[in-house]
Subunit: 439 residues, 2 copies
């Protein structure tokens, strides 16, 4: 982003935020960005931003593959992901620092949670370290690094249900903190310290998270393989089957996997490197059939290693299994891979397809999982057209419908990285540094 901050003056004693215009080089379909920023000395400073959710087309790592170092959050294998568009799925975060704050505080979806948690503190420490390095001995820096921070964050999506909420959350947090302290440049390494896969959410489009070789993790960073504009026909449906929290947090789960699953080790060392190369080629060539097959195979293999963990971890439930079977019947009927599922650490499906398949597949989903009561809210996100299904498609693909099993379907597409918010009404902290609205 090409951003210029226009610092404002403020009363040094009062935590009164003031507005600063930002200008950004952003894709035309992203919202223009502005931020509330007050950077006078001894004053509070606030920043708001949205950060995209991510979908993992394959080769998931952390949280979806285990870590070789849990402190630095280094993955045991590299991974690829697609960043989802924040028009549909997003985290919004506002961060503020002020000499009046007596402690670090954190609100998630309107509820205050423990801000002393090590990962949040690790991110704070890293951002401050970068700020210190940047400032050098400039004692006149606008914001003291010793101030406590307040952070409020909200998701417009179920938290902790296998849709990478912590990845989006930490990516957004790090973006907000970095702007708060005037830090620029490569931040994926910092985001990784919060939640491994957050480093991938720091970039838009198609992103690779390099495993890296260095023990200090400096080379375990994210890199954009292709921007979100690279493959405009690629469409994504998120099938939300459950908003329940998953039984095992993905970090705890994956650490057990590294320790107990012989198959995970083999996967990381032998299977993934070869698949990474193939997947990058599929994306480069926009080869949907190969992309889809590999995406499904790798999602399945990830969940296989979860099951090989002891005690085993189950992220897929009966409805996930039905979605998988439905996708295979749909592809079998068409004689080729037209849709492809992937599941992260939860039961919700992310389904890829080309634009010309969306209407038909959505209708197949609607017939297979007839909406219960929320018929008008069943489809969310980007518009979906109507489709009349041929009778032979219905009889081959729609078997044994389960009403109400899918709560809603969200239509989205690949999107850009973190964005600044231009609408002050969306900021989550008020002039007093406290949440100004509940989730």
């Amino acid at each position: 982003m090409l951003c210029q901050a226009v610092p404002c003056s403020a009363d040094g004693q009062q935590a009164v935020p003031c507005h600063a215009k930002w200008c950004c080089a952003i894709p035309s379909d992203a919202m223009p960005c502005q931020a509330v920023l007050c950077c006078a000395k001894q004053c509070c400073a606030a920043h708001s931003g949205t950060v995209p959710w991510q979908a993992l087309p394959n080769l998931s790592t952390s949280p979806t593959g285990g870590k070789r170092d849990t402190d630095l959050i280094l993955p045991i294998n590299s991974s690829l992901s697609v960043t989802l568009h924040q028009d549909q799925l997003r985290t919004t975060t506002t961060a503020a620092a002020c000499h009046d704050f007596t402690e670090d505080r954190l609100w998630l979806n309107g509820e205050e949670v423990d801000a002393a948690q090590p990962r949040l503190q690790a991110c704070l420490r890293e951002v401050r370290r970068l700020a210190r390095k940047r400032r050098g001995d400039d004692a006149a820096a606008p914001l003291s690094l010793s101030y406590k921070v307040h952070v409020a964050s909200e998701n417009n999506f179920p938290t902790a249900a296998g849709l990478a909420s912590s990845a989006a959350g930490y990516a957004c947090l790090v973006s907000a903190l970095a702007r708060l302290y005037g830090v620029e440049g490569e931040l994926s390494e910092v985001a990784r310290r919060g939640s491994g896969s957050a480093c991938r959410s720091m970039l838009g489009g198609f992103v690779q998270w390099h495993r890296g070789e260095r023990p200090d993790g400096r080379d375990s960073v994210a890199q954009q393989l292709a921007p979100e504009t690279h493959w405009p026909e690629l469409s994504i449906l998120v099938l939300v089957v459950s908003g329940e929290k998953k039984a095992v947090g993905s970090t705890a789960g994956m650490q057990t996997s590294v320790d107990t699953s012989p198959l995970l080790k083999y996967r990381a060392e032998v299977v993934v490197p070869e698949r990474m190369t193939r997947m990058a080629r599929c994306i480069r060539d926009r080869d949907f059939e190969a992309f889809g097959q590999l995406t499904m195979q790798d999602s399945n293999q990830f969940h296989a290693t979860c099951l090989d963990t002891f005690p085993p971890i189950f992220y897929l439930n009966d409805i996930s299994q039905r979605i998988i079977a439905l996708v295979h019947r749909f592809n079998a009927h068409h004689g080729r891979t037209k849709v492809a599922y992937t599941f992260d650490a939860g039961p919700n499906a992310v389904v890829f397809m080309l634009e010309d398949t969306v209407d038909e597949f959505v209708e197949v989903v609607r017939r297979s999982f007839p909406p219960d009561s929320n018929g008008d809210q069943f489809l969310r996100g980007r518009p979906v057209g109507t489709a009349v299904l041929p009778e032979e498609l219905v009889s081959a693909v729609v078997v044994d419908p389960v009403p109400g099993a899918i709560r809603y379907v969200l239509h989205t597409k690949p999107g850009p990285g973190p964005q600044l918010l231009d609408d002050p009404s969306q900021h989550l902290l008020g002039p007093d540094g406290l949440p100004c609205r509940s989730a």
Copy 2:
């Protein structure tokens, strides 16, 4: 078995079976055996027997591990199993041959099915080949090998729901055919031609199925590691969660695995050989904790390779997953492995434990899955005592009960191999060679 047949005379033209006494060396807890056998020339002959079901404590192979040769049914890895006692779980089969029969016919659970299926015919061919070899040029042999056969078979348990029904079925079929044609000796290789794992059901107690090295499969046979009397405290509960047919037949499923799962290959070549050695030692030493852990890990890994298959195969459903979680909570509460699950190609659980744990665990199961309407039929098989659960056990282990999710619990233990039936009323074919009662 040490059996002596006393041939009887019969009208050569009429298919009238007559009785022959058999004497067998069998464990005291097995039923005494007798068989209906008519072996006069040109007459029909019938044989009835029961064959035990098997539980796979680990290292499942075929159908649970893929085959290296689908025609000969050679497994890609060796395996161990525990044969379950036929007092509780059994297949009963009657076979007859007669010059009046115009075609091979087969009835399964009272319904006629296609007798031309290749596996049935392979077993028939093999048994006849052995009979021919044994008879040499004895043209006076009592039963022509060119007669067509009638076979009726019944299970007292859900078919095709991952409880090795085809293993028990083919083991029983081969036992019956062998006695029909007077073939003795090692028959596990013949049973393997029907259903790979049937070779294990030809023996009682703890059985190893050797992978074998020969391309012709002659060394891929079953061997008894220890008789069923070796570990008298070992108890087994079968938790029947669904009688539905599984979505993918295990043979079809496993062949896909061999072709598409990189993890299955690694498992077969690297993981299983080491685990086989350890498991045999656990059984030898009657080390329940080590036996239980390895059993669970290997069950999970088998299902992991099913998931790594493309398209993936799911045998475990939500209730299976709940049983797994329950077992781990139970063990965690006790601070050691007191119960251990294993799942074959279906959602039903086989749970191992020592005798002194049965009452308590059954009560935990009853509290976790309260019986719907069949309260009085919820517990089947061997008797189970009552148990009063400590409050702290209930609160730690019984969470979120699901009424009616388990249809019934069958209490059994390791048992002997195939047995001959002494009760003529249990024979499934009448004097006319047709089923004399429906399933």
